[in-house]
Amino acid sequence: MNLAGTIQTRFPDWPLWTLAPVALLAGTAAVFMGVVNMPPGEVLNVLLGHGSADARLIIGDIRLPRVITGLLAGIHFSVAGLLLQSITRNPLADPSIMGVSQGATLAISIFLFVAVYGFNSDPHVLYSLPVQWLPLVGCLGGGLAGVVVYFLAMRHGLSPLRVTLCGIAVGAVLHALAMGIISGWGTARLEIVMQWLAGSLYARSWDHVVFLLPLTLLGLLALPLLRRPIDMLRFDADVARSFGLSYRRQFSIILLIACMLAASAVGAVGPLIFVGLVVPHLARFIAGRRFALVLPLTIFLGATLVVVGDLVGRLIGGSQEIPIGVVTAIGGAPILLSLLRRTP
């Protein structure tokens, strides 16, 4: 037996043990490297609670929360994608299929539209816009869209196909409405929305971390209890119910958790194209027949890819950084294509 084979049989969990250090390394690199070139010693000083005021500002208030926000958002998107792909039995499912991204976009457009006329008369002044409310507004909009899709689909029996069709239909309407509102706008609002739509970790602060973290924990703590229902929901409804699954209840719980994770992440960082779609496929490809590995791999890969993608965008773009959404879209497409080629 060759070495790779031996490793595979002796250590069946090797992908996890390999990926964990990679994730750690990526996170560290993302904190130590950036647009502002700072010596590693100084970064370390800040992390240990010392360092100059400037360094503390750059690392503690800008880079660290940005990396952690990215990490959490990566987990949210990829786990939501995995859940949606499993229960809709549609390999192309991701948060946009539940209308979540579109709902968040519409909510944010409406919010900026109203906020400007409500609080300020000059639509060209950027700083007068209440951007700190965007995550919450986006999350509520996305969540609401998910709930609307859920109830529409439930009226017709909540099958995977129903959910998918309702999601796509609702998403298309919401998207059209959002574009309609945006098209009649001043430049400052347009800039904010475009920045948000591209999916960006720029200027993400501890507020975003505090916003995401409770939901991340809630989602991750629920996952062990959902492991078997997720496997079950990959059968058709009759089979799953005959095996003893309360199909409707478990389908609903998982769908709503997926919407919660997706909506909060979309609100915080904008729709990161491809993360929710590609990461579960990558995890499944690496895990192969070891189903138990898919979930942890999805979590690790999601966090790693977003953090690395953001770092790449910062390093390549310099001060004109490339939004993470652009990086994941450009990087995700080839990954998806090569996975498709390998799956018969």
């Binding site: 078997r228 079950m232 058709d236 095996f243 199909y247």
Partner: protein, 262 residues
């Protein structure tokens, strides 16, 4: 154990699939549902498994309406195998059969020795022990069908409902499944309700045969009276004759090809 349906009517949209069906099965009995395509066999089995909401009438297990059972409690008592079940491609035979234990292990309990014993027994009974590690996609149609039967067996339910379990199987494996059904009922007291197209196999394996025609029950009883009734020729629109094979064997229907009606 008593499973029965009373005055059961089911419709899909405007098409009524089942009209006032009343049936009951006893412990250890093998009941075969026969009838032309679209006669309501599948609908009846779905309703008996609690998977279809009837328009009127009721299905009861131990005197309690199926709709009021928790799905997991029901799955410990009753297991159902639909006609063309779908499974994730990358799943292996053993992984599929393990899912049959869900009703027993629930959301988080670890698989114990009793679960493993049930899985091994199910694999052995269907002759799949050697293929346990094989992916479902790598199996022949017949092997896949047996893997599904094994998953239903692993549930260790006392009522087994099978929707055309012998389709896709060659004659050798058809006989294996029918023998398995006979063994389950004899040795383990399992009640088996199955829909089946082959009349002779139905009469061979079943204690009672139920003939459905356009959603209505047109005969219910042992093979002998069914042969004497003349209903087979009328219902299936064929001509033929019943041959007595002697030795107490079930009668055999010999269909006549040339003289069959248009």
């Amino acid at each position: 154990m008593s499973l029965q349906c009373t005055d059961l009517s089911v419709s899909y949209g405007s098409r009524q699939a089942l009209h006032a069906l009343t049936l009951s099965v006893q412990k250890g009995e093998v009941l075969a549902l026969i009838g032309p395509n679209g006669s309501g066999k599948s609908t009846a089995l779905h309703a008996l498994a609690g998977l279809t909401r009837p328009d009127s009438g009721s299905v009861e297990l131990d005197g309690r309406a199926l709709a009021s059972w928790r799905r997991r409690d029901l799955a410990k008592r009753l297991s159902f195998l639909p006609q063309a079940p779908i499974a994730p491609d990358e799943m292996s035979v053993e992984q599929l059969v393990r899912q049959g234990r869900f009703a027993h292990v629930g959301l988080w309990r670890a698989y114990g020795s009793q679960d493993q014993a049930a899985i091994d027994w199910a694999l052995d009974s269907t002759g799949l022990a050697d293929l346990a590690g094989r992916g479902l996609r790598e199996l022949s149609g017949g092997e896949r069908q047996r893997a599904w039967i094994a998953a239903a067996l692993a549930q260790e339910a006392e009522i087994l409902i099978l929707d055309e379990p012998t389709s896709f199987l060659d004659i050798g494996h058809q006989v294996e499944v029918l023998e398995l059904v006979g063994r389950l009922s004899r040795d383990r007291g399992v009640t088996v309700i199955l829909a089946i197209h082959d009349l002779n196999q139905a009469m061979m394996v079943a204690d009672r045969v139920v003939l459905l025609n356009r959603g209505r029950l047109s005969f219910e009883g042992p093979a002998g009276p069914l042969a004497a009734s003349g209903l087979i020729e009328k219902t299936f629109n064929v001509q033929g004759r019943f041959v007595d094979l002697g030795n107490g064997a079930a009668p055999h229907f010999d269909v006549d090809l040339r003289r069959s009606r248009r």
